[in-house]
Symmetry: C2
Subunit: 329 residues, 2 copies
DNA sequence: TTGAAAGCGTTACCAA
DNA sequence: TTGGTAACGCTTTCAA
């Protein structure tokens, strides 16, 4: 910066002001800009953050960057925050609470202005770290009963119950559920819980549950899980899956077995992933506005920063979901 | 840090040493650690970076975080770099060179130790910025003729030619290509080029090319593109797609049209995405080690940092690819 | 509209 | 093994 200042014949302060877009005489500004371009000067954000006492980072943690659900959420966040000059500090927890804690610790060292994480489940140490940091926190994709600060999400339990109701309205009675075996995927567990509640509430007999494989649930989940379900309960007439990925695998398995979907058996997914619309038959699913979760989170965070910039809003932003009726159920 | 030092009855320097893992008497270290835990002290990375002159950031730019190909690459990078205490600074260029330039500029402000970007195509300003920064640069997913520094990738042209050879060896002669309409997806264009070269080389008549839609190519690409291909060249016996996403869409369209794959028409993809293995019929494709590209990139960067930490290695790391024969072609 | 000085929280360096 | 001091490159604050 001193070099630029010397070349433009001004003080460092003027260079700083030009960079920050503060008022500077036009002629001066042009001279400074010219010097910047000439020298290829790039300001040091770390020095700026140290001096001003605030960084331009926003920390974001999702379970899996590979899942289109969460990458949509990240895009929504970016759409809301990047125009404000904020930098996303992205992390992938891999559905691992310990890893989440490590990432939070590491990100907090960069003094982010605020932080968005996924889910309501965190280690005690994570919660302590976040509270002590004092910065605005948003938990996404769920509506925790005991939020750290703000939440932007929806009830996975209720959404799953709605899907069961959709299926029973269509006349299905012997409804199975395909989910993951791991307890780390809380949202998956909530969906399972919703399924169980609604099956019980409607008196549809014992729940037919297959839990298989690790999170994230991938396309290769559906086939084996479907086989396991039919092996145990051969008269099942509809299958509800914890995610569209699994539903897709189940439908492909039906193709292989020569089963007609939904004629012989109906299949429903969750999440409205791209594959759901493109598969033949197209997959009935619960559509969640993943991008919207990110964007609303971004807006919420911006509002908190525009205020006092500390945590404590304790708002809950509810995100809509809807059952999308397609061909498979 | 002063607070911690006071509480532990030592100087700030000793606290710094404990944090950095330098040699400190055990008793002292324990007292300091206790004070750190007690106070919930989190060191300021920005101050550390400023003082030491080096950050712990690695900048990474991919065209799309949502594409499992690139998210696998990011995971590979994280696997190689996070154990070294490096923080990924992730950006999503959205296949937009201007956006890439903005992101590079913004990331360079954080003084990353090194940077990995995707592809060989960048704006002139981006190239200048990167050269002037002096930090090690890796271009991934391609083997540029004029690399900025190091490259880790493979020839998309050659890989596509290999797929055409696979198809002709299987007896297919009237082979079409489904790709995107945008010239921004350079790797897609290279694949198209490889297709054309090999069709010409084998004297298979005029190339049958459909270019439709924007990058990234999604599952909804394949159906309409497939229809366009058959409308123009009804006797086509095999379709080669720029990506598995498109191939999947094409196969679903075949299901709808009652066409047997590969009996009536063969379909091949590119990338070995998860969907390729799970679709019925499973999709013949070119498998690229996306995770390996990330991991090798990480290793390359670590080697550069362990050396002088500046750009100029000019290596080219070739990544393997193979045609995976499955049911669809 | 511009400049000078102080200081942000850490680490490098040298000294004890 | 530990401590004191001087940076690091910027922004804040106050003065001109």
């Amino acid at each position: 910066m001193s070099d630029v200042a010397r070349m433009a014949g001004v003080s460092k302060m003027t260079v700083s002001r030009v960079l920050a877009g503060h008022s500077v005489a036009l002629a001066t500004r042009e001279r400074v800009q010219h010097a910047i371009d000439e020298l290829g000067y790039v300001a040091d954000a770390a020095a700026g953050a140290l001096s001003s006492g605030r960084s331009e980072f926003v920390a974001v943690l999702v379970p899996s960057l590979a899942s289109s659900n969460f990458s949509d959420t990240v895009r929504g966040l970016a759409a809301a925050l990047e125009p404000q000059g904020l930098q996303l500090l992205l992390g992938d927890t891999d559905y691992d609470l310990q890893r989440e804690e490590r990432l939070v610790r590491s990100m907090l060292r960069h003094q982010p202005r605020c932080i968005a994480l996924t889910g309501a489940q965190h280690t005690a140490a994570t919660r302590t770290l976040l509270r002590r940091s004092g910065i605005p926190v948003v938990e996404m994709w769920d509506l925790p009963s005991d939020p750290i600060d703000t939440a932007v999400g929806f009830s996975n339990v209720k959404a799953a119950r709605e899907m069961v109701r959709y299926l029973t309205e269509r006349g299905y009675r012997k409804i199975g559920f395909l989910g993951g075996a791991s307890d780390l995927d809380r949202r998956g567990l909530e969906r399972l819980k919703g399924y169980q509640q609604e099956i019980r509430a409607q008196g549809l007999g014992e729940p037919r549950i297959v839990r298989l494989g690790d999170s994230p649930i991938t396309m290769s989940h559906g086939g084996p899980a479907f086989d396991a379900l039919l092996a145990r309960w051969p008269d099942t007439d509809a299958v509800m899956c914890v995610s569209d990925m699994s539903a897709f695998g189940a439908i492909m398995q039906c193709h292989r077995l020569g089963l007609n979907v939904p004629g012989d058996i109906a299949v429903a997914g969750f999440g409205n992933f791209e594959v759901a619309a493109c598969t033949h038959p197209s997959i009935t699913t619960v559509s969640v506005d993943a991008h919207g979760i990110g964007f609303r989170t971004g807006e919420t965070l911006l509002a908190a920063l525009a205020g006092d910039g500390v945590q404590g809003s304790r708002k809950s932003v509810k995100i809509d979901y809807t059952v999308i009726a397609r061909e498979s159920a």
